[in-house]
Symmetry: C2
Subunit: 185 residues, 2 copies
Amino acid sequence: MSGSRARTRQAIVEAAIDLLGRNPAASLGDIAAAAEVGRTTLHRYFTDRADLLRAVSAEASARLERATAQARMADGTGASAVRRLCQEYFDLGTVLSIIFNESLLSADQGWSGAGGCDPAFVAMVERGHRDGTIDPELPVDWVQSLIWSQLYAGWAYRAETGASRHDVLRLVLRTVDGAIAPRPA
Amino acid sequence: MSGSRARTRQAIVEAAIDLLGRNPAASLGDIAAAAEVGRTTLHRYFTDRADLLRAVSAEASARLERATAQARMADGTGASAVRRLCQEYFDLGTVLSIIFNESLLSADQGWSGAGGCDPAFVAMVERGHRDGTIDPELPVDWVQSLIWSQLYAGWAYRAETGASRHDVLRLVLRTVDGAIAPRPA
DNA sequence: CTTGATTGGAACATCGATGTTCCATTCCGG
DNA sequence: CCGGAATGGAACATCGATGTTCCAATCAAG
């Protein structure tokens, strides 16, 4: 039945996001095991490893886009929008790693990772430059790189230290705020 | 002759640091090619892949230690010492990735990556907490994670944008300074 | 020049990951 | 209950990375 197929497929994609986020070289066998399906079943849904990767990438992009929309980058001061964006991205977890690694391989998406293309993001940071809430010395690209690296660092920090979600989010926001703040000097 | 052997060995280790830093799954064949030696020769110097990894790890640790000593973490204010440390680490390049990935696998070294053990580092940050140059709300572990992530981000940023060493170092230092500065509020 | 050291290449066996095929079992709606 | 859909496991072929062996070519010092 079609409902069952959809559920199985989703379970595989989710297991793949989890494992591939931690280790991009995870084997299909491990992914199948994590999804609690046979390796045969996995191949029944995704002919190739590449096929699975495409599905994972699509799911990750969808989640990223949802979080992005949620952040309303066009509202408020530049810095407050950056803060909201960090909050929304924070819970993406291993999806961040997926997007991050993916951007190094296929420069297909109009977004993220590499050349910092997303016009809404550029607009947000440049607005911050003008309204005095983001250090004008920091290029847009750099701010993007800063956000990604801090979100990743926060995720890793949490995994290492076992700190609470709330505490780590607090640290990330405080750090990013301080980093992008214009200098008094 | 012994001089030749040492030179060949060093060339292999250096090529390995370069390739493995970019891609931890690089094949021995690629590494041999990058070192401009035959794969046979590589195996003559390092029986295992594990054997080569040990040598790479040792070399990376040595370079890291040299840079650490150079930074004189005990001198000056906490923040100024952090700044010096970033400067010294900045040129380590792919060595940073090696150390970073390594720390996730083998928690043997008394240093770096994971639990932030190095007593000199702890002393430096706590000094900064006391002398008012480092935000006391940021745990020592977090400052360490911040430094690593920014150095890595800086390296990646440079590779992506082609910005000059000097400009990227400037961005890294400015960002870390701002991030660890105590908040006026 | 001669000799031992060093190297590169070819061939081979092994191993794990991958992808495919086939069959038995289980699940679920009609 | 029945029949098709969905699943899991076993077996097999393939492929790339790895590690080993052997031999010919080259280098470098005496």
